[in-house]
Symmetry: C2
Subunit: 597 residues, 2 copies
């Protein structure tokens, strides 16, 4: 059974040393947080995740959810654990104090999410979706709607869902058919239709579930401009806040999935179910869009979270499992064989995971801080800048991090050999669970297209140039330092490939727009690798400074330097071939006829 050690020291490093969040005094509310506070909160989440959530991860996977007499039952222990989660207030961290939240920044919340995902991704999705519903109503809902729903969503006494997908309408929401018509009562609508793949769609953890549902009004324009968002409760809510009659909706089936069995992924049927508009009519997609950066960050964090626990357990196994002898001679003569950690290829897999996890963690922190700046910065211009950077990197933290997080889990499983393939070690579950993160909340192909099309080309690469300025700044600041050479060299190589790839796409897209799609995935990988090279260069610079200043934690900072060097040699070099892929194959992809397949 997998174990877990929350990477609390690394959180401190990212928050306090790398991003210096406690110096961000221009951000509203940041003056109220300090290292002690974040330490205490993250330690609290770590304890809950490790002691309560982790023990339910494997059993939840084996047992799965059950649909009995029209109601979904979560796996054994989930209900009790969720009750404790609510009582401890873990759902309230980043929510608005006006509705009972603690008002903490995303840059702390993101690491709480990481720990929850590491220990039990399926469980973490119940509050995860609730937070999504909270955000939608918080940003777009009327005051009446906020009063009705937010406090209960913040505490987690009620949970939430997002009902977007229909069997024929996934990426392309323009095709959706769920209908809303005016119903009796002011501002009420009756929603009818079938939604699929609805995470946390029904369950026995909470007394009510607030479904956010995309549907079309009768007078709606065609396509995505005619979609409205509705809040549709499982049980109607009386004026005094008490629960009324059951709404006319139900989970008609549970999906049979590859993983995340502990989360109830439902087919939802709405049969004239009563709901209210969230935001204006026909503006549902816009409401979705404003939540996207946060929701996609949350999914990206899943890629990191599951990769982290998979790595930790692969490392323990590699130190413990003895098999064969080191190529350079016997390393553990007292044993019948050496621990497999001595083998170069096992090290390669573990180092690759470690370099990815720590780099991605730093990037997640950076992205969360941009989101915080966008929302909280005193200076509207700086808020806007941060918002644009966050939008640019949203496909990276979602698409790149879940792609590579999946690969890292596959590598971690591989370290276990045959034992990785059987259930009892837990590694195959990590692979099955995290696979969904590459698909939902916009497939990674959609992320890549969003990046190249909307975030680069439509923006005329302005935000990219702004970020390149930050990269050049790091290079300039560290250029004189002889010890920084290897890191800067790696960062310059990959950012050079990024620049050339950007130029290639910009040059060719006009006469052959299809090239955007053909080149997008390789481009997203190049930007992702370069972004982590940027974080690793800053990490190396921070670590060198700490060592120079004198520290009792020399091993920690030396480890950062070694890992940064490995990142440059193993990860950053990948951009060269990716750029060649774009240049050499994109045109062919667009010229391939249907009959050629």
């Amino acid at each position: 059974m997998p174990t877990y050690q929350a990477p609390l020291r690394d959180y401190q490093f990212v928050l306090n040393e790398l991003l210096n969040i406690y110096q961000e005094t221009e951000l509203k509310g940041f003056d109220e947080i300090d290292a002690d506070l974040s330490d205490a909160i993250l330690q609290g989440v770590a304890d809950f995740a490790t002691e309560i959530m982790l023990p339910l991860n494997s059993s939840g996977d084996v047992e799965g959810c059950k649909l009995l007499d029209g109601a979904v039952i979560a796996p054994k222990g989930f209900k009790e654990a969720y009750k404790q989660y609510v009582e401890n207030g873990w759902g309230t961290l980043t929510c608005d104090p006006e509705f009972g939240g603690q008002g903490l920044p995303e840059v702390i919340g993101v690491f709480a999410t990481e720990m929850k995902t590491s220990t039990n991704m399926a469980f973490a999705m119940y509050p995860g979706l609730t937070h999504g519903a909270y955000s939608a109503i918080h940003v777009h809902g009327s005051d009446a709607l906020k009063q009705k729903y937010l406090e209960k969503l913040v505490t987690g006494e009620w949970t939430g869902t997002m009902n977007l997908t229909e069997s024929h309408a996934g990426t392309d929401l323009a095709l959706l058919r769920t209908k809303a018509v005016e119903a009796e009562g002011e501002g009420l609508f009756a929603i009818s239709g079938e939604k699929i793949f609805i995470s946390s769609g029904d369950h026995d953890l909470a007394e009510n579930i607030i479904h956010l549902v995309l549907a079309r009004l009768p007078d709606a324009p065609e396509g995505v401009k005619g979609i409205s968002l509705f809040a549709v409760p499982k049980f109607l809510v009386n004026a005094d806040g008490s629960l009324g009659a059951a709404n006319t909706l139900c989970a008609s089936a549970l999906e049979h999935k590859m993983g995340i069995h502990g989360n109830s992924t439902c087919v939802m049927n709405f049969d004239g179910a009563i709901g209210e508009l969230v935001g204006d009519a026909h503006q549902g997609l816009r409401a979705m869009f404003t939540m996207m950066n946060q929701a996609r960050l949350a999914v990206g964090v899943q890629g990191l979270g599951v990769s982290e626990i998979a790595y930790q357990n692969a490392l323990i196994y590699a130190k413990d499992r003895i098999q064969g002898r080191g190529l350079s001679g016997v390393k553990a003569p007292e044993m019948a064989a050496d621990p497999i950690l001595v083998h170069g290829d096992v090290r390669r897999m573990l180092m690759s995971q470690k370099a990815f996890n720590e780099g991605a963690r730093a990037m997640m922190g950076q992205q969360a801080l941009w989101l915080d700046k966008a929302e909280r910065h005193n200076d509207p211009e700086k808020a806007k800048q941060a918002s644009k950077l966050a939008a640019l990197f949203t496909p990276i933290v979602k698409g790149f991090v879940t792609d590579r997080g999946f690969n890292a889990c596959v590598d971690a499983q591989q370290v276990f050999g045959g034992h990785g393939y059987i259930h009892e070690w837990g590694m195959e579950q990590f692979v099955r669970d995290i696979r969904i993160a590459m698909i939902y909340e916009g497939t990674n192909g959609v992320q890549a297209l969003d990046l190249v099309g909307r975030k680069i080309l439509s923006d005329k690469a302005a935000t990219l140039m702004q970020w390149s300025g930050l990269v050049k700044q790091v290079i300039a600041e560290n250029m004189a330092n002889e010890q920084m050479k290897p890191y800067i060299a790696g960062l310059m190589d990959s950012s050079g490939d990024l620049e050339k790839a950007t130029q290639f796409i910009a040059t060719h897209a006009e006469k052959n727009p299809d090239i955007l799609g053909a080149a997008s995935m390789a481009y997203m990988q190049i930007l992702g690798i370069t972004a982590l090279a940027w974080m690793w260069t800053r990490t190396a610079s921070t670590a060198l400074a700490a060592l120079e200043a004198g520290t009792t934690e020399a091993e920690f900072y030396q480890g950062k330097l070694k890992t940064a060097k490995f990142y440059m040699g193993y990860w950053a070099v990948q951009t060269r071939s990716l750029r060649k892929q774009i240049e050499a194959s994109s045109e062919q992809l667009t010229q391939f006829e249907e009959c050629d397949f």
Copy 2:
């Protein structure tokens, strides 16, 4: 539910046009085969696989195997299908005619295996393991043992297993503890111990199961030089060939696996079970080794087979599923959206799979032909050469092809979006099933080490140089042809990277042997990519010749050319970054201390 169309035209292309196997008159038995015969056989297997095996693939996965009262029951329908398999003689294809086999070459058998794996990998493993047991006894067994077991193994009336792994001894068989002591009766031994991960370990498909078991004799030298191989039947076999008493062995548990649920992977307990030596005492590992090239080819073919069916279904889905519009404009104005095949990233995934599958198929054919030459060539010198080439490429067909086959299945699943994650479409099963191929029969890390250590360095790269000669020959033969330029350029690029990577490793391995392990995986990828570039260059040359000569199948050959070009632009370019990984990160991997992880 997935469908399947056997790639019979591609088999013809590989056998008849690319490898010209019907001209190989110096190979014993090849004069008896012609295109009509192979067409008929492959068509027969295709029908059986498609009509009988495929319908049981998903149900077998859902139902799995059951252990009831000490006996394992295969999923519903497997017993009947297997009976038919035996009656049709599909197990006999490549077996020795002396024992009822058809004596067909591997180069035909390998494609029969591909189709069986495509349609039902778990089912195909029952005859697959039987063939392994057949080979071990055929090559190493005494005449008495052959008389006792081979005919029934050839027909498939009895099945076979390979019992190597113990819970603490996987890759490192030196650690194994299963014991064999002399028993009453001439040449009989009593075997005691526990084996894990035993595919097809027990089941109700056949009336007897012949377990090949590695164990130690009392006087055995330590380590791998003290391991012997025994044939241990489930039911003892009387002198007249009839079945006697049950042997003292049993399946004590079924492993709970990520996939291949239809195959009974057992924990086997041997409690003084009666068996006979296969080959000489203490020579068990050598017996395993001689079977390795064939067994690893069979596992590699799984990587291709599952990738092929995953690709076919992803392509069908991509043509059928409508979502969004093409970037260069509406492609299907009569529909509410365009088929997703118009999207560049969907094409990229499908093309990558297609280029891999067809390239790997050609390589599998080449490898099987080398194995045939090794066994059947009139000229012992040429047989020896072919044997060496087959040994060199064994880690490629196993390690590289299953790695990339797995990735291809993940891509195929990705094409389905959310539908790829749920069971009913079958795509997630392909990913779960094929994952094991990267692990068993020697993990892919072990393959990579075998390649770099045993096949390259210990050989002083002599066989590699011999193969490089073949590559240079293809380049020289096509150099003058202007139309061959793009393919030759790609082949030269990747083989150049291969050469430099080889030199780097050779230079550094002496003073730092650990670098072999650290560099091995990237090296295996470089050689694998270059090998497929070699096959694609030959394919392009063959296709151009056919077009020049005039053909009614212009589309088929044009498709080959386009795919070859894509391979060079998308796949062959990957070697550059892989070489940089070796040069930049191998040293760091070996210098990383345990405390740095």
